[in-house]
Symmetry: C2
Subunit: 317 residues, 2 copies
């Protein structure tokens, strides 16, 4: 009997990451290249295919030994037909990605969006192993989510479920990129944290932040770790918004686990502890008692591993 | 072949309503009696059983022809074991309701909470027929919800899902009965509407509301229908809170339908139109375009019919 394999491909706005695993999900080889989205979808999909060939070569697998390919892409996806309906990051519109890959490799290919796949990846291979009802929240430039219910990705009526960054938490809050006001993304994403810190800086002339030439969420975290009062307050405030959002989701969905990933979550306990406090303060007690809130585990591999999980289930998840 | 039947029982804080249907869900007989919860659970469960006997007699059905009994009760329910874990309305604590009914009738009995069952009832027999991903919201003394995903009740990790009345919509809002601040229930339930109107009355000496000896949400609706400015504003404000809450749920769960029931929803378009406006304003456009928001259809029968639906699926829903 020959060995069998799965391939997972994470298509992002800046990079393409592709991995190949055995049937147990053990990663055998990976390839990472820049997306160069400006070259257009035909070039990008050709490059994607090339990374698939490369991981096969690296691991000694033949195309006939690949059971399935999983792909995650940013944007709105037509899951049934494997089409990227629209992706602002890639500037793609109705690209039949499943068909393009299947025509080149003749291997069954499954497609889903990056937030769903990150949630699935953490659920199958990361911090969410064993969780039945799990929320995944990513906090970085934006805030997004993947919802795992009864062990499966919950996608909703038009495959859009999980847009938890656009939960209104303050009806009269700042305008969000989505057009709404007071979304948690407009209040607690990386750029929102940096903006809040910069706006408050005038009242904190002694803040450590004044010594940085540029202020992003990373500098705010660094200053907070050094005891900077303003930075600590800004992070606590963002954590309060995130915690209130998660409490809403807890009261609605009664999950057993919340996994928090994304660049901003690398702040670790600085962000996680006040998030947990806010959830405990706001959610129904019997729900929060049965709930854990933990950091993501897969880091940069989450897209590849989630895509592997999608391939393993033949998209039936 | 003899005819077969289902029985549905709606246990409420003030009344017990019981119905019997044929296998097509056609209601053949109903009985309604006061709960008199103060008599304790043994008396109440005996009365419940008596209503079951009564609808069987009324419809000429024998116990051996009843396929299953569905029951809905207010409070926290252990679905797996059919136990009312806690019900503030009934002052019950760990009452093994399924067992009590099965021991008397030897008919398989299934139990769930009233909000889930109302959602299921509307989904199977009412305004939600044909909907796959449906949210049910009841607005009355409190605000509650039932979530139907992929055609089934979604219950969550500890059977608590759907507590959408305790979604925080204004982080610094008034204290809610649950202990949290700014829940939609504290801002837009019937009592909240009445309270808001009464508080504002001092600034509206000419308001029609001044002519009522008592002000509840019902009087506010009546005055609004007569053109009373204060009442219209109060209802629009409540609708705004409800609409923002629903927009959060739309962005999270991407449902195809929202059904709104409960006493306050009898305001009809007075409440529904500004709710729809707020959802459209706040939710992601492609989600709200594929969504309908409609009033409940089953009225006072929703509990009985939902319990029938639960019985029909042997609780497997």
């Amino acid at each position: 009997m020959t060995n069998k394999y799965y391939i997972g491909l994470d298509l992002g706005g800046t990079k393409i990451a592709t991995g190949i695993t055995d049937t147990n999900g053990k990663l055998l080889a990976t390839v990472k290249i820049p997306t160069q989205a400006q070259d257009g979808y035909e070039m990008v999909t050709r490059r994607m295919g090339d990374t698939i060939e490369e991981v096969m070569q690296k691991s000694g697998a033949n195309a006939s030994d690949i059971i399935a390919i999983g792909v995650c892409a940013p944007g709105a996806i037509d899951i049934t037909n494997g089409i990227v309906r629209g992706s602002p990051n890639l500037k793609w519109h109705n690209v039949p990605l499943k068909k393009i890959i299947e025509e080149r490799f003749h291997i069954p290919t499954y497609l889903d969006n990056d937030a769903n796949i990150a949630g699935l990846g953490e659920n199958r291979f990361g911090a969410g192993k064993g969780s039945k009802h799990m929320l995944y929240m990513t906090v970085s430039t934006g805030i997004g989510g993947g919802i795992i219910l009864d062990g499966k990705i919950y996608r909703g009526a038009t495959f859009g479920a999980g847009e938890i960054g656009h939960i209104t938490i303050n009806m009269n809050g700042p305008r969000c990129g989505c057009g709404n006001y007071g979304c948690v993304e407009a209040l607690a994403s990386g750029p929102a944290i940096a903006r809040t810190a910069k706006e408050a800086l005038i009242n904190y002339p002694d803040s450590l932040l004044n010594s940085y030439p540029e202020i992003t969420a990373k500098e705010v975290a660094e200053a907070a770790r050094k005891g900077d009062q303003l930075s600590i307050e800004v992070i606590n405030k963002a954590a309060g918004y995130i915690g209130a959002t998660l409490a809403n989701l807890v009261n609605t969905l009664n999950p057993d686990l919340i996994v928090i990933g994304g660049g901003v979550s690398q702040m670790g306990d600085l962000l996680l502890i006040p998030i947990r406090d806010e959830v405990r303060k706001r959610a129904i007690k019997s729900f929060s008692e049965n709930l854990k809130i933990v950091p993501a585990e897969l880091g940069g591999d989450v897209g590849v591993m989630g895509a592997i999980a999608l391939a393993q289930c033949s998209g039936e998840v």
